[in-house]
Every structure is written in structure tokens, then in C-alpha cells.
């Protein structure tokens, strides 16, 4: 038995549900297929939902509707060694009122909400269904099959929004069969229960304010970084490491996470907290250069499936790009229905739309950021340099002080080497 729809979306993550929502609102009969028992059950991330301008267009009062945790009013960066840390922080009242700049969220709640909004608009959500293959007819995609089930779901167009490994894009011949470990990172995260009052007091927060902090130097020399984000009554902490660098180090992600949690200045922040959940997931960090074919006959690729993730080193932006690309894919499918043409001739409009949008402009603009993130000294030597310089500046021990420019020169020479420092600066400049 086969069921016919006007469009099929594979994966009810932010990309897929945004696409389904936009198509359903335009009156299309859409199937949204998800392998979890509900959307979001399989999904984890660090925890920062950056401002969702594309969803605000649909729900202008997004922040009153969506199941959000705290809004981010305060952001920090900490350079860390095994026994020292140096912290910088930014806070502004401008991020403390609507439209907020970002929020912490839980994926099992947020993804489920967005998918349910698509259902309210008329989409058919099919849970517990892992798409196994695409149906190809005369070189065009005309539907999908579900693992362990008979029958097919048919539609003139399929949107692959099935996340970073996108087997749907692979089966349709749009992504390369092999990923490079250089372009992928893995994140592991631990969630800690902590009372709301404790979080407010410890991180200096009032009302629904939230704090987001990134860490450099906390990954045992492996390329990557750490994070801490406050939810209402839990704290998300974790590390993101590049897979090739992790492989070469021989270290394990959970041992690195454990060492981070035990760093004395960090451990203080979590004391009294109780471990609640552990999770892990891969991130497409290669940026612009790893984007697969975005369209084919009867198929479009959106979100992580299309590697639309922006890891600039300052922010990790994924959900906002996923959602926006899903909506642009939806617009293209709506247009294809108007023209009754689902060939790549019409569907290539998706790529044109993306190219004109902030999504591609950002990815292009930060095309070299992954190169900077491959400077291994960032993860060890530079945090050490910063921390030891600050220690020299603050220390009072009855010896004459070194002038600050002299101190910088001496420390850079000792810890990095002048030539390396100049070359790293150049790489960083070009990247940002």
C-alpha cells in the first residue's frame, strides 16, 4: 500500500519542522516523517537557540509561545589551563528585552513543539518511522520507504532534513559517501540538576536571565572547546572536539569531559549539582567547503543534512540556519507546485534563495574559520599564555615588576615562538 502526499519531509528536527510548517500553512498536504517516538527524542545540542528570525516571521510572539528556558542576557569566554583561568564577559540591557538574542532550550521539548505547530497547520506527523531509502523513478525522487514497514510514502518532492549524516541525501546521490574526520566534531554533554535560586545566585542572574559561557583550553590539547549554559533549574555543560584531533590524541571524549568538570575553578560552579543526563552528537563543522549538492530532481536538502552549520569559534550556530534553510526549501516546493515542475530546473531556485540569504553569506564570510580552528596552539599554548601573563601582572612578591610590553614579548617567545605567533595572527585575521 502506498500513501500519496504533495511533499514529504524526512526528519522532524528544526529544519524539517520549519519546512513542514511553512508548506502546510500554504495549504500543501505534507508528511513529516520522524524516527523517534516523538520529535526531539533523538536530538541533543549544546543548548543555545540563537534568535530565530525566520520563525518570528510566522510567530511574532515566538518567545511567549515556544517552550524556552532562560533568555541569554550574559555571555562569557574563559581561557583555561589545568589550574588557572582568565575570564571575559559581556552583558547588556539590549539582550534583556524582547526580541531576545537567544535562549536555552531542551530539544525534546522545543523540537516537539515546532513539529506540533506544523501539525496544527495541517501537516501529517509520522513518528517511529526511520526512512530507509528514497524511491527513484526515471532519475527523480518520488517518495521514501520506511524500515521494517511495507508500503511507500509517495510525493513529487522530498526534503531531506534528516541531520548531519543524511542517509536520504546519500541515497539520492547528493552527498559524498565518505565524510572527512577533519570536517566533523563530536559534542558530549552532561546535564546537572541545580535549584533555580542556586543558579541565579551563582551566575548573577535575575528573572528569566540566562548565562552562556564558552571555554578554551579545557580539552587536554585536543582541538575544541567547552561550554556552560544555564537553564531554569539545570545547567548544561560539555565539550565539542574535532574528530580527527580526538582520534589522533587517543583520548576519550568522556575522560576529557571529566577532566573539564574537575578543573578546580570549574568544579566550584557545579558543586551541589546532580547529574541528570548524558548525551552526544556529531556536528558538521567544515562550513562552506563541505556543503553537498543542495537539490536534485524531486529532492532538496536542508539543515545539518546540507552541512549548514556555522562554527565561527565564537558561536556555534546550527538551529537558526537549519530553520531558515527549511523555510527556503518550503518556499521552493510551494513554487514548484504552482508550476507543477519538480525537476532540478525549478528546485535550483532553492540554492539561489540560500545564496542570497544570510545563511550562505555567513557561511561564505566565515569560510576560513575552520582553518583558524585548526591552529592547535589555540587549545593549549594560548590559554596558558593568557593565564600566566595575568598571573605575572597580578602577582606581588617583592621583586621588581616587568613592564607589560616586555612581559608579553617574553611570554610569547617562551610559550609560542614569535614566528608562530605572527603566522597564527595572520590566519586568525584572514579567518574572521
Amino acid at each position: 500500500m502506498s500513501k500519496q502526499f504533495q511533499a514529504i519531509v524526512v526528519g522532524a528536527g528544526p529544519a524539517g519542522s520549519s519546512a513542514a510548517l511553512a508548506m502546510a500553512r500554504a495549504g500543501l498536504d505534507v508528511a513529516l516523517v520522524e524516527r523517534g517516538t516523538f520529535p526531539g527524542e533523538k536530538n541533543m545540542f549544546g543548548g543555545l537557540l540563537h534568535r530565530m528570525t525566520s520563525i518570528e516571521e510566522i510567530f511574532p510572539d515566538f518567545w511567549t509561545k515556544a517552550p524556552l528556558e532562560r533568555h541569554i542576557a550574559k555571555k562569557g569566554t574563559t581561557f583555561m589551563t589545568g589550574d588557572a583561568s582568565f575570564h571575559v564577559q559581556h552583558e547588556t540591557v539590549n539582550f534583556d528585552h524582547t526580541p531576545y538574542n537567544g535562549y536555552t532550550v531542551f530539544r525534546p521539548r522545543f523540537d516537539r513543539w515546532l513539529a506540533e505547530e506544523a501539525v496544527k497547520a495541517g501537516a501529517t506527523l509520522i513518528n517511529r518511522s526511520t526512512v530507509e531509502d528514497v524511491i527513484l523513478k526515471d532519475g527523480r525522487v518520488t517518495g521514501v520507504t520506511i524500515a521494517g514497514r511495507k508500503g511507500e510514502l509517495k510525493a513529487p518532492v522530498v526534503i531531506a532534513a534528516d541531520g548531519v549524516l543524511s542517509f536520504t541525501a546519500l541515497k539520492a546521490g547528493l552527498r559524498q559517501p565518505k565524510f572527512s574526520a577533519d570536517q566533523m566534531a563530536v559534542g558530549v554533554k552532561a546535564l546537572f540538576d541545580m535549584s533555580r535560586e542556586m543558579i541565579d545566585d551563582r551566575f548573577g542572574l535575575v528573572r528569566d536571565q540566562g548565562f552562556a559561557n564558552e571555554y578554551v583550553g579545557c580539552t587536554g590539547g585536543v582541538r575544541g572547546g567547552g561550554f556552560l549554559y544555564t537553564n531554569y533549574d539545570t545547567v548544561s555543560v560539555g565539550i565539542v572536539v574535532h574528530i580527527s584531533s580526538l582520534r589522533n590524541s587517543g583520548k576519550t571524549p568522556y575522560d576529557l569531559l571529566n577532566a573539564f568538570l574537575e578543573q578546580p575553578q570549574f568544579a566550584k560552579l557545579l558543586s551541589g549539582g546532580r547529574l541528570a543526563e548524558y548525551s552526544a552528537h556529531v556536528i558538521p563543522e567544515g562550513g562552506y567547503t563541505m556543503i553537498p549538492e543542495l537539490f536534485g530532481n524531486g529532492i532538496l536538502v536542508a539543515g545539518d543534512a546540507a552541512a549548514l552549520c556555522n562554527a565561527t569559534g565564537v558561536n556555534l550556530e546550527g538551529i537558526n540556519l537549519a530553520s531558515h534553510s527549511g523555510i527556503l526549501a518550503a518556499k521552493t516546493v510551494i513554487e514548484a507546485h504552482e508550476r507543477n515542475d519538480f525537476s532540478s530546473k525549478t528546485l535550483k531556485r532553492y540554492k539561489e534563495r540560500l545564496d542570497l540569504s544570510w545563511v550562505m553569506k555567513d557561511l561564505k564570510g566565515f569560510k576560513n574559520a575552520p582553518k583558524m580552528l585548526h591552529i592547535d596552539r589555540i587549545y593549549n599554548e594560548y590559554p596558558e599564555l593568557v593565564c600566566s601573563m595575568m598571573e605575572h601582572i597580578y602577582r606581588i612578591d617583592g621583586t621588581p615588576k616587568t613592564s607589560i610590553p616586555k612581559l608579553i614579548m617574553r611570554e610569547v617567545q617562551q610559550k609560542i615562538g614569535l614566528k608562530n605567533a605572527v603566522s597564527d595572527l595572520m590566519t586568525a585575521w584572514r579567518a574572521l
Binding site: 524516527r35 523517534g36 517516538t37 526531539g40 527524542e41 533523538k42 536530538n43 541533543m44 545540542f45 531542551f106 530539544r107 525534546p108 521539548r109 513518528n127 517511529r128 518511522s129 526511520t130 530507509e132 520506511i146 524500515a147 521494517g148 548531519v164 549524516l165 542517509f167 565518505k178 565524510f179 574526520a181 566533523m184 563530536v186 558530549v188 554533554k189 552532561a190 546535564l191 539545570t234 548544561s236 574528530i243 580526538l246 582520534r247 590524541s249 587517543g250 583520548k251 576519550t252 571524549p253 568522556y254 575522560d255 569531559l257 571529566n258 568538570l261 574537575e262 547529574l275 541528570a276 543526563e277 548524558y278 548525551s279 552526544a280 552528537h281 556529531v282
Partner: protein
Amino acid sequence: MNIDEIFDFTSFTIDREPHIVLKPEVCSGCDVRGCVNCCPARCYTWSEAEQKMTFVHDGCLECGTCYVVCQRNAFSRWQYPRGGFGVAYRMT
């Protein structure tokens, strides 16, 4: 923290059928074995004595790391669990 405890804080609905299956001869001939140290759920164990790889799918977080790190195509199957099975996050 006792790191061994961390793995008990994730929920699963375990399928009898493994969703990942290895070709043992490929792993025996592999000199990298990035899967062993990179897997966040300790699913891969290499026995030096037996020269043999053991894979247990039960605690798999479906993160995708082994799929990316293995450069030898050691999988006779690598797919997500059937609908409704596998890892079930409550919050994250």
C-alpha cells in the same frame, strides 16, 4: 565524578537487532581504531590478546562519530535503529 556512572543517566529502548554491524576482519587489520577512543558511549572494545573487536549496540547514543572516524568502511550495516528504538533523551 566517577565517570563510569555517567553512562547510566541515559534512557534507551533496546532493539534486539543491532543497527550497526562490523566486518570483524576489517577491524582486525586496522591500525587506527579511532572508534575505540572516539565513541562517547564505549561501544567498541579491542582485545589485544584475542586481536578482536567487540561491539555492543545497547548503549549507542546514535551520535555518528564511529561512522565518521572509520576510514575503512568496516560496517556491513550502519543505520539508525528502527522507528521507536534506540536512545530516548528526556531533556539534554
